[in-house]
């Protein structure tokens, strides 16, 4: 399927919400869970989930009900996960990624990382200030989750902290990890500073499949 056909599969509000829900989870999601999360009937969820899987946007796995095996153990549950492949549609054709790779290479060669980190922190702070202006009374945690969702990180709560399911710079980070992860950390440190958030602190803590940055709860008394 062409990228544009794949992306077009998401052009349905319910299907889009199902995709967003499954993509944001760190576990494989079953039909019941997805249906409940989005507020629709199980059979409708199954139909949409299978369309998403057919387009390659979700991967399918099967799991037996716990503790059982062999004939009569019960039908295996069908589970869905965000697929790894990227799909991009730009009209007219734009290729920012090639430019980004060239620029990253130059920063790497010239040793300009400290400036990259300064610039990223500054840009993150502007994003943070804007987020705080939009929601001045929001608790830190809610404000940060909303801002991170806007930026495409797909945040999820993990105890007192927040983890990120998606790296918006994934392929670039794969080729220039310390450069791009350093930039990412600075962006998020800046965002927290700009939004005057004290309940969370950005740190490098990669987990398989997640973004390299996680936000740790500082134990600050402000509501999280």
């Amino acid at each position: 399927m062409s990228d544009i056909s794949v992306v077009a599969v998401l052009d349905d509000p319910v299907r889009r919400r199902l995709y967003d829900y499954v993509a944001a989870q760190s576990h494989a999601v079953g039909r019941n869970e997805a249906a409940q999360a989005v507020g629709i009937q199980r059979t409708l969820a199954a139909f949409h989930l299978d369309r998403l899987a057919g387009a390659g946007l979700l991967d399918v796995t099967f799991r037996r009900p716990d503790g059982r095996s062999g004939p009569g153990a019960g039908r295996p549950a069908k589970l869905y996960r965000r697929a790894a492949a990227e799909h991009q549609v730009t009209v007219p054709p734009r290729d920012y990624r090639s430019a980004a790779e060239l620029l990253a290479e130059v920063v790497d060669i010239t040793g300009a990382e400290p400036q990259l980190q300064r610039s990223a922190r500054s840009r993150g702070a502007a994003t943070g200030r804007a987020a705080r202006r939009r929601a001045p009374a929001d608790p830190d945690g809610d404000l940060v989750v909303a801002a991170l969702t806007d930026q495409g990180y797909q945040p999820y709560r993990d105890g007192t902290g927040i983890r990120l399911r998606n790296c918006p710079f994934h392929v670039l980070a794969d080729r220039y990890p310390p450069l791009i992860c350093g930039m990412n950390l600075a962006l998020l440190e800046g965002l927290l500073e700009g939004a005057a958030v004290t309940a969370l602190r950005a740190t490098l803590d990669p987990r398989p499949g997640d973004c390299c940055v996680m936000l740790r709860g500082t134990g600050d008394s402000k509501t999280n």
Partner: protein
């Protein structure tokens, strides 16, 4: 992971200040803990060390300012995971410009060795030289342009 071969690596760095300077303090303090993490990783095989010192950093075979670090791993994935997907080590990598000059020539080389073979510094330096002269090849390559065992 391909049986029969291990992955060797060498990286060199030109420090910006003497190792006992305040500028290098965080780096020197972090070597021990980061090495301990590497040693505990499932795919780790061997690391160049100089006896009681904190890893190979006291060895200066290429002059007083050039630090060398050499290790062997069971697979490219195992090394890559440690170098780029381990929190404390990634943090070290992120801060490298505080401690090391930029090097216009290649400063990290990877190559395959028969499982059980421990390379010496001469072998490592000759692979780095190969990489610098010919670019990445099956005999000397990088994370960005890797090769499998021949």
């Amino acid at each position: 992971m391909v049986s029969g071969y291990h992955l060797a690596q060498l990286n060199v760095g030109l420090v910006r200040a003497p190792t006992d300077s305040p500028e290098l303090a965080d780096f020197m303090a972090g070597i021990g803990p980061v090495n301990a993490i590497a040693d505990a990783e499932a795919g780790f095989v061997w690391r160049l060390a100089d006896g009681d010192g904190p890893g190979a950093t006291a060895l200066r075979p290429c002059g007083p300012d050039l630090m060398v670090n050499m290790s062997v791993w069971q697979s490219l994935e195992a090394l890559r995971d440690f170098v780029y997907r381990n929190g404390p080590h990634l943090d070290f990598m992120r801060r490298r410009r505080e401690w090391f000059h930029r090097m216009p020539e290649e400063h990290l080389v990877l190559w395959w060795v028969p499982a059980g073979h421990i390379p010496d510094l001469d072998e490592a330096l000759s692979r780095l030289d190969l990489l610098r002269r010919n670019g990445p090849s099956p005999l000397a390559f990088t994370f960005r342009e890797p090769y499998g065992p021949a």
